[in-house]
């Protein structure tokens, strides 16, 4: 908090601050902007950036969005095939290569179908129009009499011209106009169908599918030795002893960055162990308190920048007859990718090539260029899949590690993978958060005021987001690289305050953000940013309000909700789950419901969770979950189901089990034994209902179910036992304590 202003004074000015942030720089400086184009076309305006048709009959589409196992490659191909009128199998897709594809920033925020899908849809519709006109000219007929089947245009007299015969006449090297209307849903052949993902067969048979599978001639293996704690500095290590170990090619030290390259991978692991043993570090206690004390620290002691992100007031609403207050907390949590972060780097003639599972090859290239003081054009970043990331994990960091080590191997490429403890100790975590809710009910039991106050460290410190270099090794170099300040993410998407603004119709409401500065544990984007914790708090608290009002949770939500699409997902979820209004929990079993529209602008999702509470052990099992989703027009129904279903189960794991452990100096979470996640025996059955709206625009789904699942579980436990749990995760110890 700024010392010159009291908190109250600062809050008064908060709203105005937010508005100034939401102005785009171009507008602020009065520069002329070109006409806006749909989706990512706006920033990548050339048609040939998006597709290419070759004389050999191949059709290639390019996307800056990359495959994370979410099926985007398949979904984008479906969109393109429909607009172009070609077979799905004919289309190749190239994603995420700074030498080949458009710059679409990060593959994040559940925006790939919305942004890349929309761009490809308009680009391909326009390309088809250009091709049809070329065919018409060639065949001497009007374009509108042609029919098209898999790229072959047929005139009424039976003469044909195929797209690939028209390559010379159809110029895509032009700026898109986006004037050609894409097809109506009724004309789609591929969009809306559960097309099997194109990447899966290779993955199920041991094909080269991941960055870990990249093998280059002369390639060697690298490992890093990280400091034992965030505040540690390297004092000394026995370079000679390690240098003489079998297979060691280079030991790389730069300040507190320590790495090794060897001929064989297991040699790198052994050299890493030897380096760890001989290294002497100067450590300092730089971490915040843990456990309950953390949240007191966040709410009262940590330095914060405070703002009102939303305020609505009503002069006519009745006053509150009753007021409730509650504080909810969420600990630091891990992405926990199954495959530790990995990259392959090679230097050649002053140029750097990196194979990476980064979510954004262009932003990563920019950071590497800053780190090595090079022109970005001398760096190529090529995406290759990694294990699922669920946000900003170590993918970008390991690229710098590999590049630093590869500078010392005489041009031989280096494949560098983190060890499990590197990942657990150094991935940027989802920030710990505290949410203080208060609300008033009038005499009729309706919500008349609502306040949501939250404390959080930054949720997005991705590459490209600041003026600095936020790649982990940068902080350990002899001349450290400043990670820069994280960006301010304005509403309506929001960052820490994502989904803190209720969609319910409350006459008075206020949302206040305390944005904590100087994250002592590195934090960044974990699936939903602040959305998971805010929805957990908001949707738990609305159940607490419903209980106080003596109302059924479904009825209470509907009573305060006007948006018909939100109402529909709540109603369908309740109905499919067999919701019985006002049913009582039996002490062991219960059910709860929760809702959100992700970012208040992407998919609508409601979840009913059913739980069983073992009152002796305190263990909670989610036995069943039901969810209805409205994602606007659905490109691939099974892809949506997979995301929602996976999101619910992953959220159950976060909610019941997960918290990063640390003391005042070190992170003590190092292996899966320290950070258990959900296992098969505890995974609930999940039923997903899709409310397809083919005439509506795409709404992202990748993060839609995370928040509602958490609150539905909390509400189900409260329904079962009569006890409200407000501190995540709901471990057996916490549950037993609550039941005592």
């Amino acid at each position: 908090m700024k010392p010159s202003l009291s908190r109250r004074d600062f809050l008064k000015t908060g709203s105005a601050l937010v508005i100034s942030f939401s102005l785009a720089p171009e507008l602020a400086f009065g520069q002329a902007k070109p006409a806006p184009l749909p989706g990512s076309l706006n920033n990548n305006r050339m048609l040939n950036a998006w597709l290419r048709i070759d004389a050999d009959g191949s059709v290639t589409i390019f996307s800056g969005k990359i495959e994370l196992g979410q099926g985007i490659g398949t979904a984008l191909t479906q969109v393109a095939a429909d607009e172009l009128d070609v077979d799905l199998k004919r289309i190749k897709i190239v994603h995420g290569d700074t030498a080949l594809t458009p710059n679409e920033g990060q593959t994040a925020g559940s925006q790939s179908v919305e942004n890349s899908g929309t761009a490809l849809r308009f680009a391909c519709a326009e390309a088809r129009d250009i091709l049809l006109n070329a065919a018409a000219a060639k065949l001497g007929v009007a374009a509108n009499v042609l029919s098209v089947n898999d790229g072959v245009c047929t005139a009424p007299d039976g003469k044909t011209a195929a797209y690939w015969d028209l390559v010379a006449d159809a110029d895509f090297k032009r700026e898109a106009q986006a004037k050609i209307k894409p097809k109506a849903a009724s004309e789609h052949r591929w969009v809306g169908k559960s097309i099997a993902r194109r990447d899966i067969p290779n993955k199920m048979t041991g094909g080269a599918a991941y960055v870990q599978d990249v093998r280059l001639p002369g390639m060697v293996f690298g490992r890093v030795v990280r400091p034992p704690s965030p505040g540690a500095r390297l004092v000394s290590f026995d370079e000679a002893a390690v240098g003489s170990m079998p297979g060691v090619i280079a030991v790389v030290r730069n300040g507190s960055f320590l790495g090794v390259a060897t001929e064989r991978e297991e040699q790198a692991i052994r050299a890493r162990e030897a380096l760890k043993k001989s290294a002497r570090w100067k450590e300092s206690a730089s971490l915040p308190p843990s456990g309950d004390a953390l949240f007191e620290h966040l709410m009262t002691k940590a330095k914060s920048e405070d703002s009102v992100v939303n305020r609505r007031t009503s002069a006519t609403a009745p006053s509150a007859a009753r007021t409730l207050n509650a504080v909810y907390t969420r600990p630091y949590q891990c992405h926990g990718s199954i495959g530790p972060s990995c990259a392959v780097a090679q230097w050649s003639g002053g140029k750097l090539t990196v194979w990476t599972h980064s979510q954004g090859v262009y932003p990563l290239r920019g950071e590497l260029a800053k780190a090595f003081a090079m022109e970005p054009s001398n760096i190529r970043c090529i995406h290759a899949e990694g294990a699922g990331c669920y946000g900003h994990n170590g993918a970008d960091d390991v690229a710098l590690d590999a590049a630093l080590v590869a500078r010392m191997t005489g041009g031989r490429p280096v494949k560098l993978q983190w060890m499990r403890d590197d990942e657990f100790q150094w991935e940027p975590y989802g920030s710990a958060m505290a949410m203080k809710l208060s609300g008033g009910l009038d005499a009729q039991g309706n919500v008349v005021n609502w306040r949501h106050e939250l404390w959080s460290y930054p949720h997005s410190t991705r590459p490209g987001a600041s003026k600095g270099v936020n790649l982990l090794a940068g902080r350990h170099l002899e001349k450290p690289l400043d990670p820069g300040s994280p960006p301010y993410i304005p509403q309506p998407a929001g960052g820490a305050d994502r989904n803190a603004i209720p969609l319910y119709d409350f006459p008075n409401q206020e949302v206040v953000k305390h944005y904590l500065q100087g994250a002592p544990l590195r934090t960044s984007a974990l699936r939903t940013l602040g959305g998971y914790a805010n929805v957990f708090a908001l949707e738990s608290f609305i159940d607490e309000m419903a209980l106080a009002a003596g109302a059924d949770p479904v009825e209470f939500r509907l009573r305060h909700m006007k948006d018909p699409r939100a109402r529909a997902v709540i109603e369908v979820t309740a109905q499919r789950a067999g919701w019985q209004a006002n049913a009582k929990g039996d002490g062991v079993r219960g059910r709860g419901i929760a809702f959100s529209q992700y970012k208040n602008l992407a998919c609508y999702c409601a979840v009913v969770a059913e739980v069983e509470v073992d009152r002796t052990s305190g263990k909670v099992r989610v036995t069943r979950a039901v969810s209805a989703v409205d994602a606007g027009q659905i490109v691939n129904p099974d892809g949506v189901v997979n995301q929602i279903e996976g999101g619910i189960i992953q959220s159950a794991s976060w909610t019941l089990m997960e918290a990063v452990r640390y003391d005042r100096t070190r992170v003590t979470t190092r292996s899966w034994a320290d950070y258990p996640i959900i296992h098969f025996n505890d995974v609930p059955q999940v039923e997903v209902v899709l409310l397809n709206r083919p005439e509506e625009r795409f709404l992202g789904v990748g993060e839609g179910s995370q928040g509602p699942a958490a609150a539905a579980i909390a509400n189900a436990i409260a329904h079962a036992t009569g006890r409200r749990l407000r501190a995540l995760p709901f471990t057996p110890e916490r549950v037993k304590q609550a039941l005592a």
Binding site: A209, I338, R420, Q643, G646
Partner: protein, 155 residues
């Protein structure tokens, strides 16, 4: 350093100048260029590196190559190919039983070991057999369905 002769997927493969305590995983991935088994934790906690040794599922990240050389090793590549899929591979594809697919190797190999000893496992038996395998994308229910589908096809 020593030389080893391994039996992998029915073929004899020689590897030279390898330390005897080298985990099998690195020999399979780097010397034999097999992509199926994955490095996940190096501690036998996650299952991504699973192979079969003499028909039993084993965590190749902690099995020394010198021990593995005494048995017959099967990896994901040994079950089937893209053109000639094993029923388990076909079932995982049919059920779209993954998101990222990084854990799939371990799931399929553990399921193979299960179906070899129990031709028609119950839902609960499948969950129990896979319980020590971690999936972070949370495709668990699809994986169970895929194993059931494969069991039916193989019956």
């Amino acid at each position: 350093m020593a030389d080893f002769t391994l039996r992998v997927n029915g073929a004899t493969r020689k590897v030279s100048s390898v330390a005897p305590d080298t985990p099998l995983l690195y020999v399979l991935r780097n010397d034999l260029e097999l992509n199926g088994p994955k490095f996940g934790c190096g501690l036998a906690q996650c299952g991504a590196c699973t192979v079969l040794i003499d028909g039993r599922s084993a965590r190749s990240c902690t099995v020394p190559v010198s021990t593995a050389a005494k048995g017959s090793i099967t990896t994901l590549e040994g079950l089937g190919t893209i053109d000639k899929l094993h029923p388990l591979q076909r079932a995982f594809i049919e059920e779209q039983a993954c998101q990222c697919g990084y854990c799939s190797n371990g799931m399929i190999m553990a399921a193979k070991a299960l179906l070899d000893s129990n031709k028609s496992p119950t839902n609960q038996q499948i969950r129990q057999a896979l319980n020590g395998h971690l999936c972070r994308c949370a495709s668990h229910n699809r994986i169970v369905r895929a194993v059931q589908r494969a069991a039916k096809e193989m019956a």
